[in-house]
């Protein structure tokens, strides 16, 4: 099977290999350029879609916020942040784990609490849109 696939590559000529390498370079460059989000600096906590508080990410602290269903705990740990406890049924917000890059978000719909990380300048995300 693998041999057959390799054999079918025999039609490739010099120019084809050139194009393949060019394409590969394009993939790597696009990943580097487009997936390189800056590190976040600030954390915004939203409750009912309204901004509740802003914290610096450079600290070690756990905040407790009461939402629509109960109390949510949000843990900041030196540059990264996560939901550490939530009253919702499926715990999707907790399973998102740590986030640390600018414009990343975690949303807990049942408890109507969401967090969003800001860089030094504000990147747009789908909430703004």
């Amino acid at each position: 099977m693998i041999k057959k696939i390799l054999q079918s590559f025999k039609v490739a000529k010099a120019g084809d290999w050139f194009i393949i390498i060019l394409f590969f370079a394009l993939i790597i460059i696009s990943m580097k350029l487009l997936w390189n989000l800056p590190q976040g600096q600030y954390l915004e906590i939203y409750k009912n879609n309204e901004i509740l508080a802003t914290y610096s990410l450079n600290q070690q602290i756990t905040k407790t916020i009461s939402g629509a269903k109960g109390e949510t705990k949000i843990t900041i740990n030196n540059g990264k942040v996560r939901f550490s406890s939530a009253p919702c049924a499926k715990k999707y917000c907790i399973h998102q784990g740590w986030i640390n890059k600018a414009s990343q978000i975690i949303i807990c719909i049942p408890n109507k609490i969401s967090i969003s990380i800001l860089g030094s300048n504000k990147n747009y995300d789908s909430i703004n849109y």
Binding site: I5, G15, D16, I19, I20, S30, L34
Partner: protein, 171 residues
């Protein structure tokens, strides 16, 4: 009253047959769920590549445009965003093939043409998405995935087309 007759040439028959196969492949692809939303192999492009290499570019353009229109009418997406995505992808691919058609066949086989066209397809679709459907820079985050899939499927389609051409050599 003058009676107008339509002369259907052999070439027209060929275009109709190849378009029918391309439409059938598009429909088959539509009914298979894609693991990543938005990423599709584009197996109908095998037929278009085949047409271009076995016959000529003009015929490939016919088959490609007919495929886009007929598939969208059958699926009921004619003039919807899906249709315009598909159309712009097809037009950009064809445009790239017209631009690069003079590449020497000594150094470039259909693998190059397939890869160039698949990249142009993604660019064409992305322009429509960015300008009209989701006018937001956040979608650029997805671009590397689409470029990667264009690479993989462009390559696979080229190899399949090559096999088809070997089975049906040019007369």
């Amino acid at each position: 009253m003058t009676l107008s007759t339509i002369n259907i040439s052999n070439r027209d028959h060929q275009i109709a047959k190849l378009s029918a196969i391309a439409v059938a492949l598009s429909l088959i692809e539509f009914f298979f769920p894609s693991p990543i939303p938005g990423v599709k192999p584009g197996i109908a492009n095998i037929i278009i590549l085949y047409t271009i290499f076995k016959f000529d570019l003009r015929m490939g353009i016919w088959v490609s445009i007919i495929r886009v229109f007929v598939t969208s009418i059958i699926l009921g997406s004619f003039l919807s965003p899906t249709f315009f995505l598909s159309l712009s992808g097809a037009l950009f691919s064809l445009l790239s093939l017209i631009i690069f058609k003079n590449l020497s066949p000594k150094f470039f086989s259909l693998i190059s043409f397939s890869l160039i066209a698949s990249l142009a397809h993604i660019i064409g679709q992305f322009i429509i998405v960015r300008l009209w459907i989701i006018p937001h820079d956040g979608i650029f985050y997805l671009l590397p995935i689409f470029i990667l899939s264009a690479f993989i499927f462009g390559l696979v389609n080229a190899l399949v087309t090559n096999k088809l051409l070997q089975l049906n050599p040019k007369k």
